[in-house]
Amino acid sequence: MRNQLNQNKNQNSFGLRIPDIRHKLKYLLFTFAFFLFTFNLSAQKQRFPKPEFDTGYTQPTPVTPEPRALAMEYFDVLVLLLVLAAATYFALKSRSRQGILWLSVFTLVYFGFYRNGCICSIGAIQNVALTFFDPAYVISLTALLFFVIPLVVTLFFGRTFCAGACPLGAIQDLVVVKPISLPKWLNKTLGLIPYLYLSLAVLFAATGTDFIICRYDPFVGIFRMDAKFLMIVLGVAFLLMGMFVARPYCRFLCPYGVLLSWMSRFSSRHLTITPSKCIQCKLCTHSCPFDAIDFPTNEKEVVKSGLGPKRFITYALVIPLWVALGVFVGAKSHTFLSKANQDVYLAELLIAHPELRNDPDNIDVQTFLASGKPMEQLVSEATAIREKFYIGSMIAGGFMGLVIGMTLLNTVVFRKRQDYEPHKGNCFSCARCVDYCPVEK
């Protein structure tokens, strides 16, 4: 606008005769005011015009440093591909624990401390979820690739991503000092938490409420060397716990681990403990810090218990009840869950405590009031979001019910096994057992 003004001024001083000037100046002022009100009605008014300097002062330009180059983002994808290829090679082909160990050190340094734990495949779940539910959201190609590539690799070679390419896994793997073996029931029960975390993360991301995976990532504060006090405490607590209960985040929280374990269960190839025939020496069972090695089935015991088929049918029939219970709990909890959304929270707050309108210290309320947005609009927006939560939490609850039912069903399924084998779903392909196995190639 100032340019326009200058142009007008030039026209006036050069293109017109002197007696006209005073008259034209009025016109000019009028146009100036006209422009001011039409163009800048809601914009900031320039109360004080920029001075014209006599001393040859050159005005500096504001410094706006560029963000990280796009090429670097694609370089990260390349590094991920290379690290995944190396981890798969070390786990399946060269069977080298040393190789995986050094690879996880590299991952920790690159994706952890250099990239500050962001971008990561675990968080990318939320970007993908939001893409499906928010028509306005545009996912970046790197986030999509970080989500898909490890899953595809796992579908063919097992969870080698966890072994060497995940910075969160790497930092926990490196602090394993004296792992203890957890009882089976505890392992299974705690193993349900990732499913809950995954369904909540998708629910919150899909409703545009929050990215809880990123917000409560316990290690990102350590990677950044900077975080809120409580998050640092959480991260250090996880590392201390991880000295004895190996990889607690991976086993009992990681939502991406759920997807990886689905893929890994049906992987065409997977890390094997022995290069040839198992000699049943049980050495490997002591090597695995994650209780991820299945023992050979004791068929005599199974036959003797005689409860297999009967229980199987009962547990299978109970699954719909579990799902129904889950849907019920989901439907009941949607009001509570939706409070995490800022709009719902603000609407509820204003309805429940109208006196807060007079509280000058409540920033959210005061900003809302100053924005001139009508209360009805806020309430209708909040109602729409709560509606989404109603459907979403019922689906999440049903999913949790299904997971619980299937987990119970799994406890009464006996698979014939002659040897000690890694549990394909839970094994991180860290190759510790490979190191322990005395069988030569």
């Binding site: 914009a43 898909v148 990123c214």
Partner: protein
């Protein structure tokens, strides 16, 4: 033995089938996401016209001090002696004395240009993004001082923790190729 191999092959068949369907569903997810994908990267940025200077940028960023800094659009500045962003409204005197400065970290440097004009320069290392000067400049001056997320500091979190609590929804994702909303170049009028 024959029975055994039969069950083996059945298991193999099921496993292959499930693997194929998992691969298909992964493919479906990526193809449908690909329709909305962008090759460009996204970063977080503040719309200075939506910002209400609440001060949360200073406290809610995952970094300490915040990646949000005051940016001075010199184009809009009036170079005033009595600067609403520099001096406290109830300042004792129009001097650079610490008790008169609005900025809690003395991040604004005042330089004499010529009578009666002064240039105000933001020392980025000292600025904490508290928006006190922005509020002062916006209410008493031209509004040339405004907050921006500085991308050499910002770690570009998946979800900006300031955006989550911003009361006026002023922070949104912008294309990395147009990473700043500098007042003057950037207006809140789409036609201007």
């Amino acid at each position: 033995m024959e029975n055994n191999s039969k069950s083996q092959s059945r298991r193999k068949f099921i496993r292959n089938g499930v693997r194929a369907s998992l691969l298909l569903s992964l493919g479906a997810v990526s193809v449908s996401a690909l329709r909305k994908v962008s090759g460009d990267d996204y970063v977080w940025q503040i719309d200075p016209f939506k910002c209400t200077q609440c001060g949360r940028c200073a406290t809610e960023c995952v970094l300490n001090p915040s990646a949000v800094k005051c940016l001075h659009a010199f184009d809009l500045c009036g170079y005033c002696d009595l600067c609403g962003g520099y001096l406290k409204p109830d300042a004792n005197a129009q001097s650079t004395a610490a008790e008169n400065q609005l900025c809690p970290t003395a991040a604004i440097e005042r330089r004499f240009i010529e009578e009666p004009y002064f240039e105000y320069h933001i020392n980025e290392d000292l600025c904490i993004g508290c928006a006190k000067c922005v509020a002062g400049c916006t209410s008493f001056g031209n509004g040339s001082m405004h907050l921006q997320i500085m991308h050499h500091i910002c770690v570009n979190c998946n979800e900006c923790s300031i955006a989550r609590v911003c009361p006026s929804d002023a922070i949104s994702r912008v294309k990395a190729s147009e990473a700043y909303n500098v007042k003057g170049d950037f207006t809140n009028n789409p036609e201007a």
